[in-house]
């Protein structure tokens, strides 16, 4: 029996076996290339962002699509803080954060955060809202749309400055906890507004609480409780206000084999894995607790490889992780901006070719 895309994604995301393995696009600024616009045009105009992602849907036909998230939209409302935070805004790449929002650890206790509910205080966030809303209008009947935001731990890391935040974990844990409390509160309020505007699926992109950077102990102390709070808060809000289910997925960059168990405890419905994690190991460790998304290699396969290589990589991913369901094919991280279209398309085509249940291999 053929499922709707929503049924397919929800089934796989929550650990079940759908009619076939679904795919999810993780395109980020590659979308600008697809639409032949500049990255700056995408971030400066929500309608151009939506056009770009709609073009991506038309080109690649994934079952689910992660909407755009931009450092300008995520960080642009914070202002300079005590450390003189600024954003550099290139035409063909993501913005760079220069400086720090919190110059000293104790500044976390005295500075205020932007109020997402105020359009005057948070114009960049409301551009993000417009993008989500228009994207849902544009393709929401044909694909599952995930709103995407930079992760709460990564946000605290960038607002404090990466080196300083890493040291805060060991030298100023109270301040680190306060920063996590602040970013969690802000992102949760943003999520509630997205829910009010129709969003029901959410992905957090977390480069920083990775085992490439912090220990499992620090992940458990400084990331996990806040991730749980965020995912629970969003789910409860959608349930209590609309009687509807809200689905979350957590992406953490890097080789996180050491914390697969904890990632599955973050109260998200699914986890998205970087290419450095062995999907066979992940499948065994996760054991159906949450859905798994991933993890086609971005540099050697999608950027530098061939469609044949990508097809083979996708088949291998399905062989390792899709048995019994609970698996969604996606890139291991954001598709590189200049990745050849034929390589990216090969990933989605291969998912349909090799992902019909019951699986042939």
């Amino acid at each position: 029996m053929t499922m709707t895309v929503r049924e397919r994604i929800v089934t796989a995301l929550t650990g079940g076996q759908p009619d076939r393995v679904p795919s999810c696009s993780f395109l980020w600024d590659h979308a600008a290339i697809v639409a032949d616009v500049k990255c700056s045009e995408v971030r400066n105009d929500a309608r151009i962002a939506t056009k770009a992602y709609t073009a991506c849907y038309e080109k690649y036909k994934p079952d689910a699509l992660l909407g755009h998230h931009d450092r300008l939209w995520n960080y642009g409302d914070w202002g300079p803080g005590t450390g003189g935070l600024e954003l550099e805004l290139p035409d063909y790449d993501q913005p760079s954060l220069i400086g720090q929002y919190w110059k000293e650890p104790e500044d976390a206790f005295t500075t205020s955060a932007p109020d997402p509910h105020s359009k005057k205080d948070s114009p960049m966030f409301w551009r993000h809202v417009e993008h989500i809303e228009t994207l849902l209008d544009s393709i929401g009947d044909r694909a599952v749309v995930f709103g995407m935001h930079h992760g709460i731990f990564s946000m605290a890391t960038l607002l404090r400055g990466a080196t300083d935040f890493m040291l805060d974990l060991v030298e100023n844990p109270e301040a680190a906890h306060k920063m996590m409390d602040i970013t969690t509160t802000v992102v949760l309020e943003r999520l509630k507004i997205w829910i009010d505007h129709g969003l029901r699926f959410f992905m957090q992109g977390e480069p920083c609480p990775s085992c490439e950077l912090i220990s499992p102990k620090h992940f458990t102390e400084f990331a996990l409780p806040y991730l749980q709070r965020l995912h629970d808060g969003a789910r409860e809000y959608a349930r209590d206000k609309y009687g509807e289910r809200f689905y979350s997925c957590l992406h953490i960059c890097g080789n996180n084999t050491l914390i697969l168990d904890q990632m599955a405890e973050a109260h998200a419905d699914g986890i998205s894995l970087d290419q450095r994690v062995d999907l066979a190991v992940a499948k065994k460790v996760i054991n159906g607790k949450v859905g798994i998304m991933g993890n086609i290699e971005t540099t050697d396969a999608l950027l530098l490889g061939t469609p044949e290589l990508v097809e083979q990589a996708t088949k291998t991913a399905i062989d390792k992780c899709a048995k019994g369901g609970g698996f969604i094919v996606a890139a291991g991280c954001a598709v590189p901006i200049p990745a050849p279209f034929r390589n990216v398309k090969a990933m989605y085509d291969a998912t349909i070719k090799y992902g019909q249940y019951p699986l042939k291999s």
Partner: protein, 261 residues
């Protein structure tokens, strides 16, 4: 904790049977009692691994007051400690916060030791390092810079979002032996390819070694950039830098010999 505490406690109550001080008459360093020397070196190594920079400074002061050779204190004490924590990092038993803390211990202890150096330490190589234009990630790069500096390299860290010209200008100014570039995004790492071409146009390519690194930088991609080396993590990067430094200096010696022949 026991190691450094014991050392500090011992020193405050007795003057051990060493006299590692410089003889005022002869101007020569008198050899220190070997057991005491080893004790202090071990304590300096331990305090790096423990990440206690307050104790590290105190220990460095004690060591200098007792006449421990400052070069030994740095190379056989602190650097050994950094090596130990580097191995823990490799085995995923220590992570970035612990490495940064250890580096802080070493930095602060070296500030205490530096005035006691009678000659500058051997420069293992001059490095210009930075994260490429458009990229703001710096933790891994900073770790590499710290570890190289602590191993005796002279490191000029240009920070993040570094334009190609900035790499070139600094490399020329300081007569660099290395340019090391970091990127954490597949978008920004493309800049490494154009940067290396640019370094060639500016006549730098044959004069130094280039290393590239960062999470998305695979060996295949590193090969495409034309760089001389890459590594999967900070610890491996430092080891690779040491190998390339040996290679570079050997190449220069050969070139000199060829010119004089």
């Amino acid at each position: 904790m026991a190691g450094p505490l014991l050392v500090l406690g011992k020193v405050s109550h007795e003057t051990p049977g060493h006299d590692g001080r410089v003889s005022p008459d002869e101007g020569e360093r008198i050899p220190m009692d070997e057991a005491r020397e080893q004790e202090l070196l071990q304590a300096l190594s331990d305090v790096c691994v423990e990440g206690n920079y307050k104790k590290g400074k105190e220990l460095a002061e004690v060591a200098m007051n007792e006449g421990l050779d400052p070069i030994k204190a740095i190379l056989d004490g602190l650097t050994m400690g950094m090596g130990r924590i580097g191995k823990l990092f490799e085995r995923k038993e220590a992570f970035v916060p612990e490495m940064l803390l250890a580096a802080k211990v070493m930095d602060q202890a070296i500030e205490v030791i530096k005035p006691h150096l009678t000659a500058p330490m051997e420069n293992k190589g001059t490095v210009v390092i930075g994260t490429v234009k458009g990229d703001i990630h710096d933790v891994g790069k900073r770790l590499v810079a710290l570890m190289l500096r602590n191993l005796g390299f002279t490191v000029h860290d240009l920070g993040v979002n570094v334009a190609p010209d900035a790499f070139v200008n600094k490399a020329i100014e300081v007569e660099a032996d290395f340019i090391c570039m970091s990127a954490l995004m597949t978008t920004t790492m493309q800049g490494m390819i154009t940067n290396v071409e640019y370094f060639s146009q500016k006549g730098l390519r044959e004069r130094l070694k280039i290393m590239v690194g960062g999470a998305p930088v695979t060996p295949q991609f590193a090969g495409m950039t034309g760089a001389d080396g890459t590594a999967p993590d900070a610890f491996a990067a430092v080891n690779r830098a040491k190998e390339l430094a040996t290679q570079l200096f050997a190449e220069r010696e050969l070139a000199k010999a060829a010119v004089s022949a």
